[in-house]
Symmetry: C2
Subunit: 433 residues, 2 copies
């Protein structure tokens, strides 16, 4: 169908006769002589008018009873009609049903349970909300890459099969690999530190895996992570990059995805207020804000959802919480020389209760410290020898972070559950479709 016109560009063809291919999504009939069909082709939606006299009788009849989601090919004239979406409609001259749906489409106007919709994700994607969400997700991906590429970063893909854990072992996914056990990547960071010693500023952006047993609205077993790493950067610089990245993403979505945000009924004022600088506060200062609330925790305990939500309520934009206790953070984080009980790390917490969207900071470049930490965490040292080499040969300050793509999509689209933020979400109970 090389000569088909995409509905997206239909308004450029007013007065012309064009060929459209698509699916019938809705129908309104005026008796048996006039049918108004909503035709979608993935690029857009338009009204097709099938009228007695303009098409052969059997085509008129077909237009009147073709089941929804059937595939049709329509030739007709593009006419201006200010009442229609896009300002045009198609007056059909030839209406062919290519493949009629074999049964009633399972997803209708009535309310469906989440389990049913997720089981039918492959066809649920055609609905308005998933379509809009996936278009916004694609724009976010593109904005992230454009932002970093434009600043001279080089994309370096991290490996998925790994001989060791990087982030602790509780959620590792083991794989039998030609008689040995290897693990699916939880982060590309360690490999990015090596790449940064070769290429300066680098990033990876790919899927990562955690065997999350927790059934929360914030966790998936498979999620995409953007991980920039910068040789010679410090905590402050890495916070600056987090901030400019998220600001760029928000700006791009607001500029390029208005129809999608409207489809999701997103309150865009909540995004428009996300302008840098984002507030920065230390973990210790954040704890003071929690004093006397239900979310109060003793110094040294990690944030959970209640802490993240409460500490952000005072702000209309993301915040950066830095200098978490050393003992609750990953082994490679650099302790603050001024107060070694905290590390030079930072989380970005989204507003509106969407929680942590970024974690990062400075890496330790101290060989002896890292060796001690690997032992203390009970990690297999031989699997980290290569990582320690990065300190043996040219140890340098290095900083970076990991941005969870689905967390950012959830927040920007204001989704009720992170499973809607992935095209095909994977959770403990789901690997289908």
């Amino acid at each position: 169908m090389k000569d088909r016109t995409r509905i997206r560009s239909l308004a450029d063809h007013v007065g012309e006769t064009v060929l459209l291919c698509g699916w019938v999504r809705r129908r309104r009939s005026s008796g048996s002589k006039l049918h108004f069909l909503q035709l979608d082709d993935g690029t857009g939606s338009t009204q097709v008018v099938v009228k007695k006299g303009n098409v052969p009788e059997e085509q008129l009849a077909a237009a009147g009873h073709v089941p929804f989601e059937s595939t049709v090919i329509v030739r007709g004239e593009v006419k201006e009609d200010a009442r229609q979406a896009g300002g045009v409609e198609l007056a059909a001259q030839d209406f062919q049903v290519l493949n009629a749906a074999v049964a009633e489409f399972p997803i209708g106007k009535k309310e469906h349970g989440v389990g049913f919709l997720m089981d039918n994700r492959h066809i649920w994607l055609r609905s308005r909300r998933p379509q809009a969400t996936l278009r916004i997700r694609a724009e976010i991906i593109r904005a992230c890459r454009d932002h970093l590429d434009g600043r001279g970063f080089t994309c370096v893909d991290a490996p998925i099969f790994n001989s060791a854990a990087a982030e602790g072992t509780a959620t590792l996914v083991p794989v039998e690999y030609f008689g040995e056990t290897v693990y699916l990547s939880q982060t590309g960071q360690l490999h990015m530190e090596a790449a940064a010693q070769a290429l300066g500023d680098v990033y990876c952006f790919g899927p990562t895996f955690r065997a999350e047993k927790s059934k929360t609205r914030r966790h998936l077993t498979e999620f995409w992570m953007l991980e920039p790493e910068m040789a010679f950067a410090d905590l402050e610089e890495s916070m600056d990059v987090m901030e400019s990245l998220i600001a760029h993403v928000i700006e791009r979505v607001l500029t390029n995805c208005r129809p999608e945000l409207d489809a999701l009924e997103r309150d865009v004022s909540k995004l428009e207020s996300c302008i840098p600088p984002f507030p920065r506060l230390s973990y210790t200062d954040a704890l003071k804000q929690l004093e006397g609330t239900d979310a109060e925790i003793p110094w040294g305990e990690d944030f959970g959802a209640p802490q993240e939500d409460l500490v952000t309520t005072a702000f209309d934009r993301p915040i950066l919480v830095h200098r978490f206790p050393t003992k609750i953070k990953a082994f490679y984080m650099r302790p603050d020389p001024a107060q070694p009980e905290v590390v030079l790390g930072c989380d970005m917490i989204a507003p509106e209760g969407y929680g942590e969207i970024i974690g990062g900071g400075e890496r330790s470049s101290d060989l002896a410290y890292l060796e001690a930490k690997i032992a203390e965490h009970g990690l297999p040292k031989e699997a980290y020898e290569w990582y320690l080499d990065l300190r043996r040969y040219g140890a340098n300050p290095s900083a970076g972070f990991g941005m969870g793509l689905e967390r950012v999509v959830s927040w920007i689209c204001d989704l009720g559950h992170i499973r809607e933020a992935a095209p095909y979400a994977r959770t403990m109970a789901r690997t289908y479709p």
Copy 2:
């Protein structure tokens, strides 16, 4: 080190005093009073001149014996020098060794075995060839995404955990997943067909996995694949997109990666000749070209490396071989209505002996045919019910293809082995570093 200058932009600062951070890669000394150091920071390379009288005595001495790959911070004046790369050098005023390498750098000027280099991939990356290859790889990734995004495609990430195989079961990687067995993705195509029914033209670009036992220079167990899918497209249109995509990639690399191609000593004339149209011939016609050669095969057998290599020798650009025998191709391929013993599929074969870089074509939209094929291939039907739904509700012509990223990188960089085309290649025997 927020006030550091990147070596990449050093020529913009002639006459200014700047701070550089980097690694000492080489040294040439003129007695004990003058040292010329090659400093790299990942963004570029420059000469640092450390001269008696310009720096304190102990810094002069340090510059004379600092081990290679040590991390240094140098403040100095940027001076024009036409003999130097980039036309500038740095006259050091302050030379600080931040971290001296603890031992001699394992990768020297002498020849190393491949096993040694791959074991040390994390530091081998700093060498000239891996650096250049990874920069070209990043440009190829960007060119692919720009090309498709610019044509209205939407990026939709395919899932990695899957309940069933898409491409046959011989190379499946099983994973124990909360008590069940699932499989790592071999292709995102089936999921893209569903996404195309929602969004029109889509693509995924992510890692895919095959438990390849073959130790060839063309196979990895983990490789990135770009998979565009277009609702309502046919074989011819999908060949057009393959062709324009690869032409765009070549053009972008030739335009933006000249220094890297030079570093690899790539014969660019072999890339410059890759201009569309690319020759298109049928499998059956290709077999005739092989008659009487060592690569001759009977009709019905699949191409291997000998066939791919021989059939391309007559051409100075990639070729498209279409209409392979139905029985050797995947179950979802659409038989040619004019001759059902072949499918409307197509492989793009690179010149210079680099073999298949793309495979694709039309998908069958015939529900009964697909049900029969799934049974014939012994695939578990219940795992494909969702895929069959795509034909039950709005079956449409659909075509697309998969481009193996590492294959394309190997060809464009003229690499001896595909393991050099990935930042951290994974083969049967390697998941480290």
